[in-house]
């Protein structure tokens, strides 16, 4: 095993080792059990609730939860718009960056509001420090907290003795932000700052290079933002080139930290479910399915990147380093491939290499990661996506054992199936329709100038953009000229639909199920905590989510792969 692979193994094992106790902690937070951080957080929470006049003990049904969720999201949207458009005269703007024009502010606000962080600006010149911290970083916390709170509602609904009252949304939300996201980000930010990521409110620094030129180096309160950007599966970077930037991700150690953070909470949320419901085996089955899917994507990607680009190898250039085009030498091919897969299976979207330059197989794996969008997935929302597939799998396998399908003691009937199918449909619908319309426009007007590359790779660029939007991922296949009205508007619509419907759906299903009569388990009941059921869920994800994209992938990365490798051999 070479060092690169050992690095990956270390990264993965470290993630797992941290996620296990974190999961236990998260379960305690959501079930309001004592933790050793209570003395610190309880006063702050009390202050919040007293100031806002919220009664955190008032129980809500699923509809009230959704109303609360959508309302605060709308308030944040207005707030973000206001800050971005007025940042020119607001404080903390040492570089004198101007206020954003309305369309860009709209795009940016939506993009961060939905936890996607698709960026059509460059942080160095587009945002003031005030916007970076008060708007962007704020949204990175609260949108991650929103997803986690929604997941907590669903967790609560899965308990045995639950009725239609599913806890208080604001309580879950504040706890997610304060007790989970904040401490992790705090530790991570310190680690990053000590390794060279800037954390200052001073403006650009002047530096003299070895050639004697004076260059201006952008800096700012980056460490704290990078921490939450990774922790909350946000992905929107402080600097334009994200974690490939030497200040955003200075060395292999910070890369390790940042990459661990990508998977940490999504993984811990699964273990938290096990502790929360006292169904650890069930959580391990979910973990197993996610892990299998993750490895199915990771192994080909890493292998393909480490083998390098056959066209370049043939020229005799750097054959031993793998495919290094668009990658940072301090990370290498394997760690870049690993990051590429982790950032796409979760809805993170931060990058430490240029995804467009990955080999076709690695690109296909990244696309698949976002198309399935449920192998770990975004904080909170990853489980919500997975929940839909569980419902579908329970339905089919429930019939297969000769009983009306039940999940956690509740019958799954027509209404729940309708919602589940709608949510499951949405993802392929948004991705394929968006790509199809764009392809149509390109066909009509080949001179439109959107695509950085012709042919299959150009197709992948379009497919990737919509996939990234629909998965609320936010990473981009560079090369696409995406700052045009068509791309801004169409991806904007995709972003909103793809964020809120997949939250509303699972919360509604869980709420409806919770209000149904609980049926005690017996020998004829389908057990959901078995490997067999895990296989079933995996099959549903594979056939419904992955295979629906097979024709599209065929014309994009697969055609590219077969052309590239076919022509070399």
């Amino acid at each position: 095993m070479n060092t690169e692979i050992r690095g990956l193994a270390l990264m993965f094992v470290a993630t797992l080792v941290l996620a296990l106790p974190l999961g236990k902690y998260i379960a305690k937070v959501y079930s309001c059990k004592k933790t050793w951080l209570d003395p610190l957080f309880i006063p702050i929470e009390r202050l919040f609730f007293r100031l806002s006049g919220i009664d955190p003990t008032r129980k809500m049904n699923w509809k009230e939860h959704l109303v609360a969720l959508l309302t605060i999201n709308f308030v944040w949207f207005l707030f973000a718009m206001a800050v971005l458009m007025n940042q020119g005269w607001l404080p903390l703007n040492p570089d004198g960056n101007p206020g954003m024009p309305a369309d860009l502010a709209f795009n940016t606000a939506i993009s961060f509001l939905v936890n996607c962080n698709l960026q059509h600006y460059s942080g160095e010149t587009g945002l003031s420090y005030f916007s970076q911290t008060v708007c962007i970083q704020f949204l990175q916390f609260v949108t991650a907290g929103t997803g986690m709170a929604a997941a907590a509602v669903v967790y609560n609904a899965m308990r045995i003795h639950v009725t239609d009252k599913l806890g208080n949304f604001y309580n879950y939300f504040v706890k997610s932000c304060l007790r989970i996201l904040l401490p992790i980000s705090f530790v991570a930010a310190i680690l990053l700052a000590f390794n060279g990521t800037p954390m200052t409110f001073e403006g650009k620094a002047n530096m003299v290079t070895m050639e004697g030129d004076t260059v201006q180096v952008s800096r700012g309160p980056a460490a704290s933002m990078v921490a939450i950007k990774q922790t909350g599966t946000n992905g929107g970077g402080f600097f334009g080139v994200n974690s490939a930037h030497p200040l955003e991700n200075p060395n292999y150690f910070t890369n390790l930290v940042e990459n661990i953070l990508i998977l940490l909470i999504p993984m811990a949320m699964i273990f938290a479910l096990g502790h929360y419901l006292h169904r650890k085996k069930f959580a391990w089955v979910i973990f197993g399915v996610m892990m299998t899917g993750f490895l199915f994507l990771l192994i080909p990607a890493v292998h393909s990147e480490m083998s390098g680009n056959p066209a370049i190898s043939e020229m005799g250039l750097a054959p031993n380093l793998g495919n290094m085009e668009g990658k940072e030498v301090r990370f290498g091919a394997a760690a870049s491939a690993y990051w590429g897969v982790t950032t796409t299976v979760t809805s993170n979207g931060s990058v430490n290499s240029m995804h467009s330059s990955h080999t076709p197989i690695s690109g296909a794996m990244q696309l698949l990661g976002m198309m399935t969008n449920s192998f770990f997935g975004g904080v909170g929302v990853g489980f919500l996506n997975f929940y839909i597939f569980i419902i579908l799998a329970v339905f089919i396998s429930g019939l297969m054992v000769g009983r009306t399908p039940e999940f956690m003691g509740r019958k799954i009937e027509a209404r729940e199936m309708k919602i589940a199918m709608l949510v499951a449909l949405l993802h392929p619908f948004l991705i394929l329709t968006g790509t199809a319309l764009s392809a149509y426009f390109v066909n009509q007007n080949p001179e439109i100038g959107w695509l950085g590359n012709p042919g299959f790779h150009g197709f992948s660029e379009m497919l990737y953009e919509y996939t990234s939007s629909a998965a609320n991922n936010g990473s981009g296949f560079e090369g696409l000229a995406d700052n045009t009205p068509w791309w801004n508007i169409s991806t904007g619509i995709v972003l909103i639909l793809a964020r809120y419907l997949p939250i509303i759906g699972p919360v509604a299903i869980a709420g409806i199920l919770a209000s149904k009569k609980y049926i005690p388990e017996n020998a004829g009941t389908l057990k959901t905590d078995t490997g067999t059921f895990g296989v079933m869920v995996f099959a549903v994800i594979f056939i419904l989510a992955a295979l629906a994209f097979f024709p599209a992938l065929t014309l994009g990365p697969l055609a590219e792969y077969f052309s590239l490798y076919g022509s070399v051999n």
């Binding site: 089919i396 009983r403 199918m421 609980y518 024709p551 014309l555 077969f562």
Partner: protein
Amino acid sequence: MKNQHTGLFQKALVLEALKQAFLKLNPGQLFHNPVMFLVEICTAVMLVVSIWTLSGATAQGSFGYNFAIFSILLLTLLFANFAEAIAEARGKAQANSLRKAREETPARLESGQIINSSQLKKGDVFVCETGDIIPGDGEIIEGLATIDESAITGESAPVIREAGGDKSSVTGGTKVLSDRIKVTVTTQPGESFLDKMIALVEGASRQKTPNEIALTILLAGFTLVFTIVCITLKPFADYADSPITIAAFISLFVCLIPTTIGGLLSAIGIAGMDRALRANVITKSGKAVETAGDIDTLLLDKTGTITIGNRKATQFYAADGVEESVFIQNCLLSSLADETPEGKSIVELAKAKSITPRSGFSLQSAQLIKFTAETRSSGINLPDGIRIRKGAFDAIKNLSEKAGFAFPPETEKRVRDISGNGGTPLVVSENDRVLGVIELQDIIKPGILERFQRLRKMGVKTVMVTGDNPLTARFIAEKAGVDDYIAEAKPEDKLEYIRNEQQQGKLVAMMGDGTNDAPALAQADVGVAMNSGTQAAKEAGNMVDLDNDPTKLIEIVEIGKQLLMTRGTLTTFSIANDVAKYFAIVPALFMTAIPALQGLNIMGLTSPESAILSAVIFNAIIIPALIPLALRGVAYQPIGASALLRRNLLVYGLGGILVPFIGIKAIDLLVSIFV
């Protein structure tokens, strides 16, 4: 009639179904099945394309190829229609054979007027005498008769039906063997249970069951996904300069949407009701059959279900100082004239011990003492003055103590032991002196223990309902292996128990016959009324068992499970098939324009045309290939839910992935000879 094991495809039925298969092409009818309706639209499109190519267009490929696709799609539709039609035909044939007997029988009204049975209205009163065929369903209001119900139940032993009580119902088509009864008609013409059942099977009033609706939504969802996949493929292909023919588009679409389960879905539902009917159970709705599969708790009457009818003598225990053969001799004499099943069993047991009545004994000369509620004993007075009595412990004890005899302590202990073991002691005395005690035991039906184990593995809790005292009840419950019992049960107790179980979220099934069972039958999620039961009971339940067989409940639960499983497994199979179909068609779509994609043609299919034809042909013939399975149902095995899922996932999931790979490849080899 019972369990007629006719083949799945009788000639007459097949012919009728073939005709129906064409009639069902009517879009108005197909509209209710979204998946097949889409296939019909695709078929129509292909017909237009075929005609278009015939008129000289070349862009869409040859006429032969297009027409072949059209024909295969049409076949797919016909196969699916045939599946539904054959299920309907079988159900109808079964129901008709039940109905035939009761049609066109003359009915003699009270007034003496004779009308046709079909003219009988609810509330009419008719009279039947020996040899008459009963013209319609009704309730006896006067008289008693022995009736041959073999036309309905297949059971040749005549049964007694009488006014009042729980056995007052008569069924049309059965024959009166003796006596005379007056019957009031209880159903309007065309509204008997059987009529309702036939209507259910025929589809006119067939409503989709809740599970069927949910499954239809799932299938519609899958269909929509694949619709999106296929429509968006057009601009994708244009972008890649790889034009796709209409035939290829339609083939991809039809192959991907779940036509297999879509085509078989209604056949599966009808077949479920057919199976119930074959088990001589009339269901009032398809939902009831489905619910039966979900039952958590089964209430079973002890007598007839768990134990064989009545108690039987199992042992003679003579008192100290009484010779055993003498004791048994006395037992035998006391029971010779006893017509009760217990009495007969004593005679049998005595004979088995080679004891015969002493020589010179003649029944005629003896005086028989009948059992009365007052004496609680029966017996015989012999001509020589000997009085033999047998009866309950305290009754005989009274007798003997009055006569001045002490009750033998060892016998008293034996009496207690017998009671403790769930038996019933019968004490026998000669001239008021206690001779010993006979042990009567309930005989548990052979094989019932295994059946209950089977039920337990299915997750069904069994509850025995009995009028016995708790001690006896517990003993029998343990011996038979039921999970719970209701002793000294009154009808209210059953109702209470059912409510209690339902409160905990469980579904309960029970069987009953009496009017006082009606509330419980109505409360139960699956209430099976015996056909011999009162009209009230039959109205209250949602199924009627023509055989009056209490163990039928177990069968019904399995039929329900089988129905759900068949749907689930065929859905899995249908969807799993898509993997192979993708790999057959997608490379075929683009191989001409992008030769590098030959690498995706992992099945090595000959040409794009043959690949597409093979996939469509496979898609079509898998439907008739699975009709037998749909009609017969996937066998239920009580091996626990997880093991069952594993097995079905292996057979229908993995099988569903592999079979089309092999099938399409094989068809391609054949097709490539012609193309």
